[in-house]
């Protein structure tokens, strides 16, 4: 019964008091819930918006933020990759450029281009394939695809890629760096899956590596910086208006631009993959004789190139398809022997400009009118990839919002499943612990309550004295005993040390004592066995307190961390808490929030569903 009686609540003072109490409780309640809301909203964030504090992440309400978040995933959380491939100078994804509006002319042009000109998959990069301490969607899809392909057999997968792999989550491919002269890859199952995924993904999720961006990043940025064109313009005779509109010329700059010519040549000869360089007016014969001079025998070339050429005469000049390795080295060496005036750069941007020229029949005004641009020449046209991406984001905003909000949750679930047994182990352990506690503790209490043997009281004191020791004292001996019994890394090691609980036995004994003795006498007259009395009288009458015992055991088992870590360190015996501990060390705060929230669902459900039972099961000590 409430302390404020009903009569008192009617007068003004009582009402004031009630209002005050509710106000106070609400204030306290806010302080209880606020961190949870923070956690909930934090679990939906990524690196770019993790430091902003609003309860509702901004990508929920603004298309701009959503687009930037999409960019963050697409460009592998690296501002460097974003800046290089979209020609901008952002410091974080929070100030990445967002298109002012959608321009249908640009989008339809680019779509027509992509339909008509087959851009080789070596010119595309699939976005969202790697991330720092997090698993972007495409990486997750790649892992799932590989796991399905190998029917979950890690060993077969390890043999196929030639490196033992301990978990599917260890597959972390680096995005291909097609533009670099030093990059190469060997076709293996990971690459096959990667290309399959690339072909099926929407255009907005991929990007075309920008040769101009690569040039700016490797040659211009170290010398003049990219934040303003001032440094560059001071050093060069010709002026550029902005690095955003800058396009690397497809042929070597003339001699009256010595600095740019120097940079261009160094870049093409040293950094750029030579397959992006075509030769104008050069015959294959020079190339073939160069190779013949290098290898003398075609078989040697075939080994180096992984090729099947019958003779040197059958080798054509590169026509723009990508290659790396020995072939790239040879071709780069060949390029160095030639006069640079025959070099012609190719690549998506150059093909796009050539296509535009054909598409608009060299009518620049028409192009500018359709695309709402102000290009002074066709050679300045840019690939409007940002338009297609922005359109995709706007069209799929609902799905993307949902995906971003649930990304961390999906990842945590996936990791738990990929890491296999943590969830199952916890389930088995909790079930075993509850079963054991419900059997051992009541049996001990029953025997002490029913048969008042001499020394029962001392026995009880001894049982309770086990609670007095600091847990530190028992931890080491328990570990040593378990090791002697060869029980480490078994469920026995988890369940046995805490199978009996002195306090619970004590409580149960007190409760059993209060049951009427006449019941037992009546049962005995009816010929009931002791076991039957135990189950049908004692246990049946003490359901609330048994529920409380079960709950206490469950909470103890579910939150067991340090003990579990010490007696079950092997990965196949990890509990959720231990798994979370190692997860915490290699994840973002957002993923940790998600994991914590997921891990607290079971305890929350139990409290919500069994609140009444719990409160009824609590026994309160009162002085006799």
């Amino acid at each position: 019964m409430p302390i404020i009686s009903r009569a008192e609540t009617r007068n003004f003072r009582g009402k004031l008091l009630h209002t005050g109490i509710i106000l106070l409780l609400t204030l306290g309640g806010v302080s209880m819930i606020y961190p949870f809301l923070l956690m909930l909203s934090g679990s939906m964030r990524s690196e770019m918006d993790s430091s902003s504090l609003g309860l509702i992440p901004s990508f929920f309400t603004s298309d701009k933020s959503l687009y930037r978040k999409f960019l963050e995933t697409k460009y592998d959380q690296s501002v460097g990759i974003l800046n290089e491939n979209t020609h901008q100078h952002a410091y974080t994804f929070n100030d990445a450029r967002v298109p002012a509006r959608l321009i249908p002319g640009r989008i339809s042009d680019l779509r027509t281009f992509l339909r008509h000109v087959k851009v080789s998959h070596n010119w595309w990069v699939l976005g969202g394939i790697s991330g720092f301490n997090t698993t972007p969607p495409n990486l997750r899809r790649l892992r799932t695809r590989l796991a399905q392909e190998f029917h979950g057999n890690l060993r077969a997968f390890g043999r196929a890629i030639g490196a033992p792999t301990s978990s599917w989550t260890d597959i972390t491919p680096t995005p291909p760096n097609w533009l670099s002269q030093r990059f190469n890859y060997h076709p293996d199952p990971i690459w096959t899956a990667y290309f399959q995924l690339l072909r099926r993904s929407p255009v907005a999720e991929r990007y075309i590596p920008s040769i101009t961006g690569y040039f700016l990043a490797t040659m211009i940025q170290p010398k003049y910086g990219l934040s303003s064109v001032a440094g560059y313009n001071r050093a060069h005779a010709h002026h550029v208006s902005s690095f955003i509109t800058f396009v690397l010329p497809d042929r070597v700059p003339p001699a009256n631009h010595p600095l740019l010519r120097q940079d261009w040549l160094t870049f093409v000869r040293r950094d750029l993959n030579p397959s992006f360089v075509l030769l104008k007016g050069e015959s294959p014969a020079a190339w073939q004789s160069f190779l013949a001079g290098r290898y003398t025998h075609i078989a040697a070339l075939n080994i180096s190139w992984h090729g099947h050429y019958p003779s040197f005469g059958a080798i054509p000049l590169p026509r723009g398809h990508w290659f790396g390795g020995g072939q790239a080295q040879d071709y780069a060496a060949f390029l160095r022997t030639l006069n640079p005036s025959v070099y012609r750069l190719t690549g998506p941007g150059y093909v796009w400009r050539a296509w535009l020229r054909r598409h608009y029949h060299h009518n620049l005004a028409k192009l500018n009118a359709t695309e709402h641009t102000h290009y002074p020449r066709f050679a300045d046209a840019q690939l409007p990839m940002d338009q297609i991406t922005y359109q995709y984001v706007c069209q799929h905003s609902l799905k993307l919002r949902w995906d971003f909000a649930t990304l961390n949750y999906v990842n945590v679930f996936n990791q738990m499943i990929f890491h296999g047994r943590a969830m199952l182990n916890t389930l088995i352990y909790c079930a075993l612990a509850i079963l054991a506690a419900l059997l051992v503790n009541p049996l001990a209490a029953y025997s002490m309550s029913r048969f008042r043997l001499p020394g029962t009281y001392k026995m009880l004191l001894m049982l309770m004295a086990t609670m007095a020791f600091p847990p530190m004292v028992t931890m080491i001996p328990v570990f040593i005993i378990l090791r002697h019994l060869h029980l480490l890394n078994t469920f026995g090691a988890l369940v046995l040390p805490s199978i009996a609980n002195g306090y619970m036995i004590f409580l149960l004994k007190g409760f059993f004592d209060s049951l009427p003795r006449e019941l037992y006498e009546a049962a005995r007259i009816d010929g009931a066995s002791e076991l039957r009395m135990f189950f049908q009288i004692t246990l049946a009458l003490s359901k609330p307190i048994l529920a409380w015992v079960a709950l206490g055991t469950f909470v103890g088992a579910y939150t067991n961390f340090l003990g579990a870590l010490i007696v079950c360190p092997a990965q196949h015996m990890w509990l959720i808490t231990v798994w979370l501990y190692q997860f915490e060390q290699q994840s973002t705060p957002a993923a940790i929030y998600a994991a914590v929230l997921i891990a607290s669902i079971p305890t929350l459900m139990i409290f919500l569903l069994a609140q009444r039972t719990i409160i009824r099961g609590i026994v309160v000590p009162v002085e006799k």
């Binding site: 409430p2 961190p35 923070l38 007095a468 609590i618 309160v620």
Partner: protein, 331 residues
């Protein structure tokens, strides 16, 4: 002899005694700040008029305890971020945005609330005469401590730089806030308090459930009879409710002291790791470090036994009271 060696090693180690002092401080904070909120919360929850509201409040206050153990500290470590983008610092710095008038009002309101809280603590034992002596003493001690804590900075200022500095402090009450981000767990002075707060946040709701059950065992007739005699609400709380719960409160108090002495290891480990500058290095943590990191099992176990011996009186009293107790189920 070896085991005596270990005990001697521990007892003649200055580090042990300094961590012993910190343990006392930790226990005092944990008990002083954490013991009464569940009781207060239970009494308040009991007074909530409708069943639905009661259910909602009970669930809300229980919510923090569904996050298991160490995970709470992962959460609070984010809240305690010492940069100005940390959650708590951000909330604190929002005060800086207040205009001079509203800032002055907020300051005066906070000061007023604080002073009236101390006044209530001092007045209660005077108004309610039949309150038990230990409770009266306890309330006055708390009030005295709070007064001292309030006056101490003023006294220091005055003694250091004359009475005008004291006046300057009062001038600080007027005008906008100029707060700087706090270090929280990284400032040695506040770290212990910061370690204790999350456990109180997480434990109050779950702790109040026991008291809620106990409140239901208080017979209604007592309240009715008291009302006949013209008892007010305060009287009912201090003459009926608390005396009826006295046995439980004493048992819980002893259990809380024991738990405070033994516990806190994993929390502190996850939050500060004993730092900054050993400010939160308490004995249980020291035991953990000695045994499992430095692998000095003997020294660690000796410390654990010493801790057990310190607590032996508490443990014996607890066992005695528990074995004499009768258990009543809640309804």
């Amino acid at each position: 002899m070896a085991c005596v060696d270990n005990f001697a090693k521990v007892l003649f180690d200055a580090r042990f005694w300094s961590s012993f002092e910190r343990t006392i401080y930790f226990v005092a904070l944990t008990i002083g700040l954490g013991f009464w909120p569940p009781i207060l919360l239970a009494i308040l929850l009991q007074e909530v008029p409708t069943a639905t509201l009661k259910y909602i409040f009970r669930t809300v206050y229980y919510l923090p305890s569904v996050i298991s153990g160490v995970l709470i500290m992962f959460l609070w470590r984010q809240l305690y971020d010492p940069s100005k983008y940390g959650v708590l610092n951000h909330l604190l710095l929002m005060l800086n945005l207040c205009g001079p008038i509203s800032a002055t009002l907020i300051k005066l309101l906070a000061l007023g609330l604080w002073l009236s809280f101390i006044a209530i603590l001092i007045m209660l034992p005077i108004r309610i005469e039949e309150m038990s002596r230990p409770l009266k003493a306890a309330l006055w001690v708390v009030a005295g401590t709070l007064t001292a804590v309030t006056l101490q900075p003023i006294a220091v200022r005055i003694s250091e730089s004359g009475p005008m500095a004291g006046l300057a402090l009062f001038k600080g009450l007027i005008g906008p806030f100029h707060l700087a981000p706090l270090g929280w767990i990284q400032s040695p002075g506040a770290a212990m308090l910061c370690v204790v707060l999350p456990t109180i946040w997480a434990g109050s709701g779950a702790g109040s459930i026991l008291y809620l059950a106990a409140l239901k065992t208080v017979p209604d007739e007592l309240y009715e009879a008291a009302e006949m005699d013209g008892a007010r609400i305060w009287h009912k709380i201090f003459y009926i409710t608390l005396p009826q719960l006295k046995y439980l409160i004493v048992i819980q108090f002893i259990a809380a002291v024991i738990a405070a002495f033994q516990g806190g290891t994993d929390y502190i480990l996850a939050l500060t790791g004993g730092g900054p500058n050993h400010a939160t290095l308490i004995i249980p943590l020291e035991i953990f470090f000695r045994t499992f990191l430095k692998l000095q099992f003997g020294v660690g176990t000796a410390m654990a036994w010493l801790l057990g011996i310190i607590l032996i009186w508490f443990t014996a009293t607890q066992l005695k009271m528990l074995s004499k107790a009768e258990f009543k189920g809640g309804r």
